[in-house]
Symmetry: D2
Subunit: 384 residues, 4 copies
């Protein structure tokens, strides 16, 4: 009997989840190539990764949205993939839509049903696992970015549970992480939201033999930074400033135009450069919403650097990428890799997945090539 | 008694040699920082590298040029370094100027004095070593790029020497390499010219316990390529085309506007990307001469790549760099590293110096971070 | 009875002709907006221009190509317009296809049938006019760019006809211009080829009360130049160099990769800047073929300029445009405007159409706003 | 006896005033060319403009700053002009420094000495005119940008004076405008501050036969916009979004990093595009402070536009300009032109000077070429 792995998207009606669903179905049916999938590089051939046909999709979504309609709009208006591909995988998209539930909202201060919300999510995951005979579930947070919590959250599992119980304000991403990790599942935080990046949740994960990866998928400007900043370091060229502007027109852009959520994003985006260079850099990261761009993001970088004897030089970059097309294959990669890690008994923060994130949990390495080394060393180990 | 290492520049009156001379003197007198010098990164602290005050400069130059005047023009017109720095190191520049000789030209078909030319260079190096009590000499080719040889040159040392003897056309860079390597010296080919990149000269080097490094200093567009192309590989993003345009206004630009020399340059510039990606890429590299730019180079890259499910994306870069300010510290790095290698008994092509070159000899690695690993592994070994 | 105007495309199977045919049909049926059409600006409302439903398309094409298939590829692969629009206008495209004939080739030295070729084209135009009850025909040259003629062509109409008669080498575009203008038709040269830009053909046009416009449609980099160069002039900022690189992947790009045709193109592209600035500028224009770009063109400009007291500044531009989508509406504009001019009795080179061309015939004005003034003054005159 | 015109800078110690002072002296002594000066274009030859040696500089500055030291820093660190030029004009800079006084601050709500502050400035102008036998004075506002006033200011001269008298909050730029215009002088508002752009001050100017020009010198991104936006209009290409990012590192940048002042600036910068295109455009203008850039500004524009049949295209620009080198010659131009206007009896807002401003007073024209037409028509009239 084949293995079956559940994939539970938070933000199941969004562009990334929809693109991942289209892609998963297309790959399972041999209708798409493997470009963009890290786990399809030759080095991963013997790693014992699961097949795309083993993945069963479902998730939570607050808005009522049909994956087929979202997919059709992405094909027609955004040109992420051919319209005919949507027709070809319409059945799979319908099956996915049937597994989407409303989900839970953030706990506002004074609300007393926090534990019930966590319980509801955990029950839903368990029910899904039973219904589809799943070997395990990997929850993937693709929901809109939350503003950072106003106050620090408790540091231990017990204190965090008590905080929820007595109605302390708690982001939705934390409630979901509590449910997923407490239930022994995998959890991937592809957003800048808090998610599982708390000591308390690391403790929850370890206690339940769960594993998690995050934080904030590295799909564009930070990806380029993590490849380019090591160049300046290797050549002892002094970076004087690194200014990054992002403009985009999708839901994500609309959310990040909000100062709170934008601050969370700018925070995770700003980690790579000083970490790689080893000295503080005059750095700004801006994100602005330009509706007409749709799912496409234009990222402009202006880097000032100093060379020998004080010569002042600069480098500018313009990145034109389709956000969902960049994110979706990484989501599928991460599900496969978290599933493999759980099969191998790895628990807690999976630092070897730093390659995928702007602000990796369980790992301080931001240099892209070194992150690749970490991942390759892990997949070279005994397969599960 | 302190060690003394001779540095013999081919093209001693050019911008790079002049900037290196200004920089060496400024470093020796504590007037300049170490930005741009790879060998001043912390990892090189225990490698046993020689000091900048141990370097004695000289070289060959066909044109009559005063290093002080070239330096002053670079300061005033090109703003590579402050004008007052030229005043501060005027004595050292005068001492350098006193060690510059006319040098030899390429052997044209039928000319019979090839062996005499090689001998003359070898004598000059020996005389300089005696006069200045040098422990060794490192010849650095910074001369104008030569057109590629019209016919392949012989593959063995004996056949190459016979070719020169009977008046076979031979580039000047090869005559110099014969003299330098035959005399047991170090040889660095910082240009796209042939230099020591021939099996016959590797044989000469090994026979005389000489060592060499090359080819074509990696200072701008190719440097960026060697940092960025691995990003596309690591993420399985398919590069569809990589177009590179370079505009510059110095002597080098004027030389490369010549189709022959330009072809040599474009050849070494085009190696990195397909080597790193592992598949053929539709790639063009252009170099054009725009006089008003002076020593500054603007390099524009346009990269088309394909993402998941066929999405078409692109990245553009504009690099604004001062060529000589980028090259000069690498020249000083290479002299120190070749000197160290010779002290350690390393001979032939020094593959561990690939980090510095567009088309490295003795090494097939083009990924910048991997090249850095090779160098760091080498310097971590027992110092001489 | 409604008027009917014939539109006779040279290069009828190419991307521009096909896009124009799709657009004409879509406009006639109310399926498309007027974006990109100069003649649909409010100022043209009372000019007495003909309707899009009055245009009857036909033309010459050496290759066998179905407009429907070309249109479908432009929709699907190049995303110039929606695929469903091709279905909607399939009937019109089929009617256009039925009017496409093989055409004639350039006269090579010694070939004696030049007059017969001219005659054949003239007969074809006449037959088409009769068959479709056309009021007049406007021939539009959209064929692949020819290399510039090796020797200057004769200066008078009689001498040019004698040249053709005795088998003097003659570009195809000149043969077509002879036929079109000699027959009293309109002729638009949208390419850098010679076309009607000869004194001899101006004489032919005037004798036959024909009118022509050209040369080389201004669709991208030169359009921007003609808007931006006046800025430097108005502010007395001194342009030191203007470097322009174009990369594109369509048939046009393939043709222009040929040095001969490329030279013709670079020539017409280089006129605007020095003409506007009034002093010679260090200027280069490059065109390169990058197949993966398809019908899309990326144009990069690097402009160095000097400000007050010698400060050195620069401006860089990257233009991402779909060549055929930029050209096609101008083709429709030109047909309407040439038809109007003929109805008003204007003959010879129509200088007021300079706005549309890189190297305008009958007009020395390259500044875009001044060209617009010329056109607006003309359309403000008594309508026909 | 030669004419003498006073130039009274508000912000006399800043980079622009200093560069203007260096430039005026250099021009008067024949040490500098006329690049960057609009009034030195051939068309202005017969306009009866005053000479640079007729200008007598002075002004207000709250900070203690030596023009020689500011100039030296601009030469050495920012490379706006050669260091030796500062030596050559040191005497003139010292004479300028001797004419700089502390000036007055904004009136905060409840402060009762507003009329006294206006009087003090007026007296200072009158004293300067007497001391230097000036024919007239032109006040030029180059001071740091003020936040926009919190409440609208009164609409008539009498009401504005009453507002000041009873201690209503009043920006310093308005106090200066009251003094300058009330005294019959010229007033140029080169900043986004309120200055004379109020109906009440237009009334003051007309009553006292004074003239003024403004608002916010057009030196970079908006200059390019006013040249490029007409291109989209002329070709009926639909601009979907225009995003502009500015980064700079001088005092101006530091001030504009403050949200209030930044808002004022973004407001004046945002006028040109919709005004030229005639429809609302999704437009954002950002200004960020990047200290290492010094007086240099990098402006990045991303323009999305739609072509025929819905094709989506884009244009990106990167402008690298030295702010003070762009502004200073315009300041000298404006002084000469305002002086000429006053001699010719022109009063109130000088709309013909729109060419110089982001948000012109007395004129709704934003298209650069049309603004040039207005100015040329004015200078073609009978000289004073």
């Amino acid at each position: 009997m084949p293995r079956r792995v559940g994939v539970w998207f938070l933000g199941a009606g969004g562009n990334v989840a929809t693109t991942a669903a289209v892609g998963r179905a297309a790959l399972a049916r041999g209708l798409a190539g493997t470009v963009g999938l890290v786990t399809e590089l030759p080095a991963f051939a013997g790693a014992g990764l699961g097949g795309f046909d083993e993945l069963v999709l479902g998730g939570h979504e607050l808005r009522a949205r049909s994956p087929v309609e979202v997919a059709r709009a992405l094909a027609r208006d955004e040109r992420l993939f051919p319209e005919r591909l949507v027709d070809d995988v319409a059945d799979e998209l319908a099956a996915f839509a049937a597994q989407v539930r409303p989900g839970v909202a953030a706990l506002r201060a004074g609300e007393r049903d926090g534990p019930a919300r966590v319980e509801a999510v955990r029950d839903e995951l368990a029910a899904s696992a039973r219904a589809h005979a799943l070997d395990r579930v990997v929850v993937v947070n693709l929901a809109s970015t939350e503003p950072p919590p106003e106050a620090a959250l408790p540091e231990t599992a017990a204190a965090l549970r008590a905080h929820v119980e007595r109605g302390g304000a708690t982001p939705a991403s934390v409630l979901y992480a509590l449910a997923a990790l407490g239930g022994g599942h995998g959890y991937v935080n592809f957003t800048p939201s808090t998610g599982a990046s708390l000591p308390a949740l690391e403790e929850v994960a370890r206690a339940a033999a769960a594993a998690h990866a995050g934080r904030d998928g590295k799909t564009g400007q930070t990806l380029v930074k993590s490849a380019l900043a090591p160049m300046f370091a290797a050549r002892n060229l002094r970076v004087r400033s690194w200014f990054g502007q992002n403009i985009l027109g999708n839901e994500d852009g609309r959310t990040l135009a909000d100062p709170g959520a934008g601050r969370a994003k700018a925070f995770t985006k700003a980690r790579a450069v000083p970490s790689i260079l080893g000295y503080p850099v005059d750095q700004l990261v801006r994100i602005d919403y330009v509706p007409g761009l749709g799912d496409w993001k234009v990222a402009w970088d202006h880097i000032q650097f100093e060379g020998f004897l004080g010569a002042r030089m600069s480098l500018e970059l313009s990145w034109h990428g389709a956000d969902s097309a960049l994110a979706a294959p990484l989501v599928l990669d991460l599900v496969r890799l978290v599933d493999r890690a759980l099969r191998r008994g790895q628990v807690g923060a999976l630092g070897q997945l730093a390659l995928f994130f702007k602000d990796p949990v369980g790992c301080d390495e931001h240099r892209l090539e070194r992150q690749l080394d970490l991942l390759l060393a892990d997949v070279a180990a005994e397969p599960p």
